[in-house]
């Protein structure tokens, strides 16, 4: 393992807490389980409770004759991407590849200094093996069948089961896996001896190795897109008909991609500007993946050459010149007046468009808005030539990105899809959560600033919005946006239901986010404001450079908590009729009769969905706890 490092190296980066001497097993049991008679009784009671709950869960999931896990295994494609057209399925893999490459690259660039001790790895193996062993031992007897393969039942209509030992036979693979895990754990534990405490593995390497093991297992057991053979009444993995359909090869490619990009990232770590560039790419990634890769827009190049590009150039050159002038430090009050005029122009384009005074491309209107926004902040960038140049380059890039995406959004998709959107399944959940977070975060910060501002009307508006939204359940917000939003839009403007519910999610979570940020804002000391004022900063500079950085740092843990909540809230989309992850488990798969009959198999899907949600939010909550410790928020 290349990631193994010695304790000297580790101590450079992490200050280890002093080791606690561990108790011998007998002592530990006496102290923690049987310290008194009452405690002993409690221990036994809870042990029994845990055993029964565990046994019940395992048997509910695997031993019930009604259980058919193929309902999940054969429908993984449906769960993940729902109705994405099969002939262009490779786009999903490309998207995943882009995300993973960027993750690998960022991991290489930042190289997070997390370490896990060999002792902990060993306990994970041992614990996992023990749980698996217990699950294998919790098996019930094999169900008895008659000669026709029907289950035998006794006079109370209960299924007849054989002896416990007869059930163990069906769990050979479980025992084998448990043995491997326990063996590996024991090997690390005893092989390293006393060095197990002092040997560390980089978390990055460990994660990568774990991912590799999972990918490797695909070559043994296949999941993903299944196909049925009606003649035989069986179903099998659709192996190699399409590369994109057999999951093992693409996943292996993904794994390699992740590793390669990690090393690339490490190699170019010293280069300048790479980190902000990577962050920008992360910001643009969801849009790029959605609008470009997955949606595959059919760009009208003739229109691009005749209209789009000239318009961009015009705005870029004229706007750039205007902004360059505005950043001239000796301009004085005329600059503000000009910015104000630009703002009026931007507003006027929309008002005029609404009353039909003149026609104008939406892109031009948006460009005016962007120009006005840049002009309003221009005086913060006034200064020498280099500073002004950076500002103008920022304008060119922002405008370019905006024009690019607006062009893409206005182009039709080439996908042949039957429903109104190709988004569905877990992919939609992820997109909803990410877009929800991206848009609700700035909105929430604005609301929090407005609510804590000293200006009464802002405060009143923000407080009303926040309190009303926080007082009503998310489901009514969703109903409002899925039913009412189409009614409130002017003629010719449409929004897909998927978009409408994401708008609902954004507004809903922004109210909660605002409260979290407000907590952070209140923790910023008065003196900070006064010092900023004394330095001569404007209100905008004070807020952006002094107050918000401190406030957001304090509110990071609650913000992660809010992200978890939003992620869980996305499950409510199922109720308003969007084919998300949960709806597929609850409504689609249980009604599937061809090619394979899965009618009524609801519980497998629900267990699977809860597992996926659980993994996501558990990981995030663990991360937030770590972050909280790292930031030391509680201890200040």
């Amino acid at each position: 393992m290349s990631g193994m490092i010695t304790v000297e190296e580790a101590e450079e980066v992490v200050a280890l807490p002093p080791e606690q001497p561990s108790l011998p097993p007998g002592e530990w049991i006496r102290k923690n389980l049987f310290s008194s008679i009452g405690n002993g009784v409690l221990t036994v009671l809870f042990a029994l409770l845990l055993v029964f709950a565990f046994r019940g869960l395992v048997n509910f999931a695997f031993e019930n004759p009604e259980r058919d896990w193929d309902a999940v295994r054969a429908n993984l494609r449906l769960y993940m991407t729902f109705a994405y057209p099969l002939d262009q399925y490779v786009r999903v893999w490309v998207s995943l590849g882009i995300v993973l490459s960027l993750s690998g690259l960022s991991a290489g660039l930042w190289s997070p200094d997390g370490y896990v001790s060999a002792r902990r790895i060993s306990t994970w193996f041992l614990g996992g093996g023990a749980v698996l062993l217990a699950a294998a031992l919790a098996v019930q007897g094999q169900l008895q069948r008659d000669e026709n393969g029907e289950f035998l039942i006794d006079e109370d209509l209960e299924l007849i089961r054989g002896s416990w030992a007869s059930g163990l036979g069906s769990r050979i693979s479980w025992f084998a896996l448990a043995a491997i895990l326990i063996g590996a754990g024991a090997a690390i534990w005893f092989g390293l001896g006393d060095r197990r405490r002092n040997t560390f593995v980089r978390t990055v390497n460990l994660t990568y190795a774990g991912f590799g093991v999972i990918v490797g297992s695909l070559w043994v057991v296949r999941y993903g897109h299944y196909n049925g053979s009606p003649a035989e009444g069986t179903h099998y993995a659709d192996p190699d008909s399409l590369v994109a359909m057999s999951t093992r090869l693409p996943w292996t490619v993904m794994w390699v991609l992740l590793g390669v990009s990690y090393f690339v990232g490490k190699a170019v770590r010293g280069w300048p500007l790479l980190k902000p560039l990577a962050l920008t790419f992360w910001g643009l990634l969801p849009f790029f993946v959605f609008w470009v890769v997955l949606r595959d827009p059919d760009i009208d190049w003739a229109h691009v050459w005749t209209t789009d590009l000239p318009m961009y150039l015009a705005f870029a050159v004229i706007g750039g010149a205007v902004l360059f002038t505005l950043t001239n430090p000796s301009l004085g009050e005329i600059g503000r007046a000009l910015a104000f005029v630009l703002l009026l122009v931007a507003v006027f384009t929309f008002v005029g468009g609404f009353f039909g005074w003149f026609s104008m491309l939406q892109k031009a209107r948006l460009s005016f808005v962007f120009l006005a926004a840049f002009a309003l902040v221009a005086n913060n960038f006034a200064g020498e030539f280099a500073k002004r140049r950076t500002f103008v380059i920022g304008w060119l890039l922002t405008l370019g990105v905006m024009h690019y995406f607006v062009t893409l959004i206005n182009s039709a998709s080439t996908l042949n899809i039957r429903s109104d959107s190709f988004l569905g399944g877990f992919m939609f959940t992820i997109f909803a959560a990410v877009f929800g977070l991206m848009f609700s975060f700035p909105l929430g910060v604005l609301l929090a600033l407005a609510r804590t501002s000293s200006l009464p009307i802002f405060r009143l508006l923000a407080t009303t919005f926040i309190e009303v939204v926080r007082g009503i359940p998310f489901i009514t917000v969703l109903f409002f946006f899925s039913i009412m939003l189409p009614l409130f839009l002017p003629e010719g403007m449409e929004v897909a239901e998927h978009g409408a519910v994401i708008v609902g999610l954004v507004l809903f979570s922004s109210a909660y986010l605002a409260e979290n940020v407000r907590g952070g804002l209140q923790s910023v000391r008065r003196g900070q404001y006064e010092a900023a004022d004394a330095t001569g900063l404007t209100t905008a500079q004070r807020t952006g450079l002094i107050v918000l950085p401190q406030a957001l740092r304090v509110s990071i843990p609650p913000l992660v908590g809010q992200t978890i909540s939003s992620y869980k809230e996305t499950s409510l989309f199922a109720i308003v009729g969007i084919f998300d992850f949960l709806r597929i488990a609850n409504n689609v798969v249980p009604n599937q009769s061809s090619p394979i009959n899965f009618v009524g198999h609801k519980r497998e899907g629900l267990l699977f969905v809860s597992l996926i949600y659980w993994i996501g939010s558990y990981a995030m909550s663990k991360y937030s706890q770590k972050l909280e410790k790292k930031l030391g928020v509680g201890s200040r």
């Binding site: 923690n32 389980l33 310290s35 405690n39 409690l42 221990t43 809870f46 042990a47 409770l49 845990l50 509910f60 430090p329 503000r336 609404f354 200064g383 000293s454 200006l455 009464p456 009307i457 802002f458 508006l461 009303v468 926080r470 007082g471 009503i472 359940p473 998310f474 489901i475 009514t476 109903f479 409002f480 039913i483 009412m484 009614l487 409130f488 839009l489 002017p490 978890i564 869980k568 809230e569 499950s571 409510l572 199922a574 109720i575 949960l582 488990a585 609850n586 609801k602 519980r603 629900l606 267990l607 969905v609 809860s610 949600y613 659980w614 939010s617 558990y618 909550s621």
Partner: protein, 514 residues
């Protein structure tokens, strides 16, 4: 930059002397920005309302509340009325179902959450791990997924047959739900309730006396037991003696008649006076709070805004009462008289039976089409799934809050408790938990709010709550805006009441500091 600084220093004196031009005056700029924002928001809302109104008109959907008075002709699977005769009544059934679920959920989730939260801090490794497994599992799975799972599992229970009884015939359980004996309020209840009220009052005084006695003498006087004993004694005596209150019927009847004779305009004037008086007294108290020994402090624009707001609010309230909705005052008059006549009826002749009665659950129908009869208290699978879902989910969060609250109690408190000889259970109950409760009350209130909001998911499993019934109304009448407005009003009212109650407790419970 350097140049600039020099110039600004040199002009410092002159800048201070001259007033800034009007477009740099912060007050003007601030108010301009605010008014612009207000115009923008109001304009956007008006724009949406105009477009929405046009669209609705084009679709021939009127936004009114007529559907509340029309018989919608659908059945409701559970609740106080299975065949409501108007839409409003149907919605009322839904509201009662929602509140029933919310109150039951809060009650059980609190108990469960406190137990698990205490278990999470147990020294016993097994108990500790069991509690943390519960918390980490349940709070990380969306509540709707859990509700679906419970519904799927409960739906898999056996068919309803004559044999599906449990608890020695006290109830039935099947895929159709659980039917339990229904305890209900019978004829003599209101008379008996008078005894209970008197018993509570007497019990309260007894309790206070016993506490005083204990505090002055140090003798253990069991105040709680005494109070409970008094209440029980009154309840038992009242069970037999309650017909003696029959004469109250006439009293209530005449109060009701007297109330009836209040003219509507009088009530209207009374309410208006109340509104004007409260606005005026608010302004006066506000000004008083600004008064310093040197006279009235200079009012900021913010203060002036507040005063204007209070004044405008008062005027709007006045307009509302006198012009826009004069029906409110007659409604108050009518409901007052209805209330007294209702009591008169409840105390009247033939109302002297048993105060509380119970009915055993039954099964109706024949062959394979069995269903629960109306006698039992039936909880459908939908209710059970919702109840389990919201309760177990919220309990996990409450457990974390209780744990946090207990950890917030200084260690010295538990050390002091064991120093004066309390055992662990005693110190927990009498020293730690009361203090932990104070810390955890505000977040606990938030959880109650969340629980109430989560009850809106009943539509997913067919539980007839206010959202689910509203959705049916919406589909039948198409009046989406009205229904959504009613939902929002209902939930806002719930949220507001919960926060008022929690705040009240919070103020009462706060440790009085020096």
């Amino acid at each position: 930059m350097g140049e600039q600084r020099v110039t600004s220093t040199s002009t410092l004196a002159s800048t201070q002397a001259t007033k800034p031009p009007w477009y740099r005056d912060t007050t003007i700029v601030k108010w301009f920005a605010q008014v612009a924002a207000l115009v923008l928001v109001v304009g956007a809302l008006a724009f949406l309302a105009i477009v929405g109104g046009d669209n609705l008109e084009a679709k021939d959907i009127a936004t009114d509340f007529d559907f509340l008075n029309i018989n919608q002709g659908f059945d409701i699977s559970e609740g106080i009325d299975s065949d409501p005769d108007t839409g409003g009544r149907a919605l009322w059934v839904g509201i009662v179902n929602t509140l029933r679920l919310a109150v039951a959920g809060m009650f059980v989730a609190t108990i469960l959450g406190v137990l698990i939260g205490v278990a999470r801090l147990s020294q016993n490794w097994m108990v500790n791990k069991a509690a943390s497994a519960y918390i980490e599992t349940l709070r990380n799975i969306p509540v709707i997924v859990q509700i679906f799972i419970y519904a799927a599992v409960l739906g898999g229970l056996g068919r309803l047959t004559a044999d599906s009884d449990f608890l020695w015939g006290l109830g039935y359980i099947s895929a159709k739900g659980v039917s339990l004996p229904r305890v209900f309020v019978a004829d003599g209840f209101y008379q008996w309730a008078v005894f209970l009220v008197i018993g509570s009052v007497v019990g309260f005084f007894v309790h206070r006396n016993r506490v005083r006695l204990q505090e002055s003498t140090g003798r253990i006087t069991y105040p709680n037991l005494w109070a409970l004993g008094v209440l029980t004694a009154f309840a038992i005596v009242g069970w037999f003696a309650h017909p003696m209150w029959g004469f109250l019927s006439g009293v209530f009847g005449s109060i009701g008649d007297a109330w009836d004779s209040i003219p509507q305009i009088l009530m209207q004037l009374l309410l208006s006076a109340l509104v004007v008086f409260s606005a005026a007294s608010w302004i006066r108290r506000f000004l008083d709070s600004k008064r310093t020994p040197a006279g009235l402090a200079k009012l900021t624009d913010d203060d002036i805004f507040r005063i204007i707001f209070a004044g405008v609010g008062g005027v709007i309230g006045l307009l509302f009462l006198m012009v826009l909705w004069p029906g409110l005052s007659s409604w108050i008059v009518n409901s007052g008289s209805d209330f007294w006549h209702f009591l008169a009826d409840k105390f009247g002749d033939g109302r002297s039976g048993q105060p509380v009665d119970a009915m055993m659950p039954t099964i109706e129908g024949e062959g394979t089409l069995l269903k629960y009869g109306p006698q039992g208290l039936t909880m459908t699978v939908g209710f059970a799934a919702m109840f389990l879902g919201v309760t177990l989910y919220t309990a996990a969060f409450i457990a974390e809050i209780v744990r946090g609250g207990i950890l917030a109690v200084p260690k010295g408190q538990s050390e002091a408790a064991s120093a004066i000889g309390l055992n662990r259970a005693q110190s927990l109950r009498q020293v730690i938990l009361p203090q932990a409760f104070r810390v955890s009350l505000p977040p606990l209130g938030n959880q109650y709010l969340n629980l109430t909001k989560n009850t809106s998911l009943g539509i997913a499993v067919g539980y007839a709550d206010v959202v689910s019934i509203g959705n049916t109304l919406l589909n039948q009448s198409g009046k989406a805006l009205s229904v959504i407005a009613l939902w929002m009003l209902f939930y806002l009212a719930c949220s507001l009441s919960i926060s008022v109650v929690v705040n009240w407790f919070n103020v009462r419970m706060k440790i009085v500091e020096r």
